[in-house]
């Protein structure tokens, strides 16, 4: 299995692993999920119909309503949230979101994670050391 290691900066510590959900877009909060199921319900979203529960979310940055972090906190409280975030460019929405949901997150990596990682790859996130290990999904 081909492995790639990306190095970046901690946003929030901890370790977690799971399958990647990747978008080359910024990620919203309000109006994106059914919080009770973790399913993405937003029309036109790259992940529409997919479930974020247990996944490692890989995306450019946060966007949309300032309630962003509250939605990820709600997902976490319901047990339907992602296990980690890999963010091209952390902003105040994503920073607050991962702090509130207490899941490991890494940003400012040596390569754009949305270009290197594909949906379905297996991802290990070491938040404390800012390391993301990618095991490519074999086609």
């Amino acid at each position: 299995m081909k492995k790639i290691v990306l190095k970046g900066r901690k946003v929030f510590g901890g370790t977690a692993e799971g399958y990647a959900l990747v978008t080359k877009d910024a990620l919203g909060g309000m109006g994106v999920f059914d919080v009770s199921t973790g399913m993405v319900t937003e029309s036109g979203n790259d992940w529409e119909g997919k479930v974020v529960t247990g996944k490692v979310l890989v995306y450019k940055t946060g966007k949309g309503s300032s309630s962003w972090a509250g939605w990820y906190k709600a997902l976490s409280s319901m047990g339907t949230g992602p296990v980690a975030h890999v963010i091209t460019k952390n902003n105040s929405q994503t920073a607050l979101g991962v702090v509130l949901s207490r899941v490991p997150a890494v940003t400012e990596l040596d390569q754009d994670p949305t270009e290197v990682i594909s949906t379905g790859d297996w991802i290990k996130v070491d938040g404390d050391n800012g390391i993301v290990e990618v095991t490519k999904n074999q086609p």
């Binding site: 901890g14 029309s43 300032s66 509250g70 105040s92 607050l96 490991p104």
Partner: protein
């Protein structure tokens, strides 16, 4: 959780600062993974006092939270802030789950201060105002959750007032008395207000959520990172505007298009020949923060950090340029105008909360007329604008015509039948309304086109 502080004194320009290194060890995560992390920010005497609990346990908890948040942002220190806007509007379900006695002190302690011990806040450090609460108590039947939701909002409002938050209940605080000055460090929630605060006023705020803004209100501190730093406020992409920008609709569409295109960049809108008014700028910011994350933009010659294009970009070189013309406007407009029929069932205006000028314009168009019997017309405003509209006679005209002027509320929280076709003059509203209510058939037009639709029950708006 244990905290160890190592404090080193030193002096900078007559001011004594603490350098504090706090090391925390988390013992568990929801997923069960063991975690340890180190926090390292420069702290002042005041901040250390708060962290040590010398100013009470609530401030201590708030500072601990701000430290975690500041570290996540990569901040090295805090900025003082005396200007916060936030939203404390609990849902009744979560309120009951956290505190069966509906005790807001207990709710806030557990939800926002991460304390099992109930902490009573007696005074905030920062001047703080409240965002829209999404509920007008006079119309529980029109809003999601009915009376229960209104009761929860009321409990939240009374709590805000008790701890010293000025309850503007408005998503446009800058129209209601919370007007920052250029360069002022703020901690604001509400995406459209954040864009306005940064871009039009030239004050500095990141996109705060309720939890971080509340901690800032308690402590008077916000992490010095992101848009608080001048080096992060320069324009990094040029959006060349090749059409007339002569009405509010055009500004909303421009913002929405730019939000889709700009990605991580800070746009500079160039080639604009029209001087925008208040609501045009509000619409530009609101839309750009809906489709994207444009918390700051510049317009050379108009906005305060952009006297010239060079100033807007910090003399940046090789800045990419995207064009916005008729074709881009048409495609953006079509995102929202997707009804196969021309019947209009609901008209939602007031996103962001309407200015007095817009309220007066609606009243002027409705005077002597009636909203069509099959149409619901809602206009959302802050309570300050509502009070003035009442005395100016606008509210009476709108009510007599069959419209509903809702104070403190938001169209996304109206209990709208998703099968109904809905018109609005706000790209932001029509971005969120399908996502929050399930409506599918929508129309985006000018204020006049929307009020005409309310009267006729038909969409006659122009295609762009």
């Amino acid at each position: 959780m244990s905290i160890r502080y190592k404090i080193v004194w030193f002096t900078i320009a007559n001011a004594r600062l603490f350098y504090l290194k706090a090391r925390r060890a988390h013992t568990s995560q929801p997923a069960g993974a063991g975690v340890s992390c180190a926090v390292s920010m420069k702290l002042t005497v005041d901040e250390v006092d708060m962290l040590r609990g010398k100013q009470g346990k609530a401030k201590q908890k708030a500072m601990e939270f701000l430290l975690r948040y500041g570290e996540a942002l990569g901040a090295e220190q805090f900025a003082d802030t005396n200007n916060v806007t936030l939203c404390i509007c609990p849902e009744m379900e979560s309120l009951r789950r956290i505190t069966p006695a509906l005790d807001m002190d207990e709710y806030i302690s557990k939800d926002s201060l991460f304390s099992d011990e109930t902490l009573v806040i007696d005074k905030l450090k920062a001047f703080t105002t409240s965002n829209a609460t999404y509920r007008d108590y006079a119309y529980p039947e029109l809003q999601k959750g009915g009376k229960d939701a209104c009761d929860a909002a009321y409990i939240g409002e009374k709590y805000c007032q008790r701890i010293g938050i000025v309850t503007l209940n408005s998503c446009v605080p800058y129209q209601c008395g919370n007007i920052p000055t250029k360069g002022e460090h703020c901690a604001w929630t509400e995406s459209s207000a954040i864009a306005y605060c940064n871009s039009i006023i030239g004050a500095k705020t990141n996109i705060e959520g309720s939890h971080s803004a509340f901690a800032s209100a308690i402590t008077g501190k916000t992490p010095l990172a992101g848009l608080h730093l001048d080096e992060n406020r320069k324009g990094t992409i040029i959006v060349q505007v090749d059409i007339e920008m002569d009405d509010v609709l055009n500004w909303g569409l421009l913002g929405y298009y730019a939000g889709l295109q700009a990605g991580l960049e800070i746009p500079v809108y160039t080639n604009i020949k029209n001087i925008p008014d208040l609501f045009m700028l509000m619409s530009l910011g609101a839309a750009g923060m809906s489709s994207g994350t444009i918390a700051l933009f510049h317009i050379p010659g108009i906005t305060p950090e952009a006297a010239t294009l060079d100033m807007a970009t910090g003399n940046g070189k090789n800045i990419s340029v995207i064009s916005y013309g008729r074709e881009e406007r048409k495609k953006t407009h079509e995102i929202f105008n997707r009804s196969a029929k021309d019947d209009v069932d609901v008209v939602v205006l007031g996103c962001p909360h309407y200015s007095l000028e817009r309220i007066a314009a609606v009243a002027g168009l409705l005077e002597g007329k009636k909203v069509h019997e099959s149409v619901e017309l809602y206009i959302t405003v802050g309570r300050m604008q509502k009070a003035i509209a009442d005395r100016a006679g606008y509210s009476g005209i709108i009510k007599n015509a069959g419209g509903v002027l809702l104070e403190d509320s938001c169209g996304t929280h109206l209990d709208i039948d998703p099968s109904k076709s809905t018109a609005s003059d706000s790209a932001k509203m029509l971005h969120y309304l399908p996502r929050m209510t399930g409506v599918h058939d929508t129309f985006l037009g000018t204020l006049k086109e929307c009020v005409t639709a309310a009267i006729m029950g038909k969409w006659t708006g122009r295609a762009l």
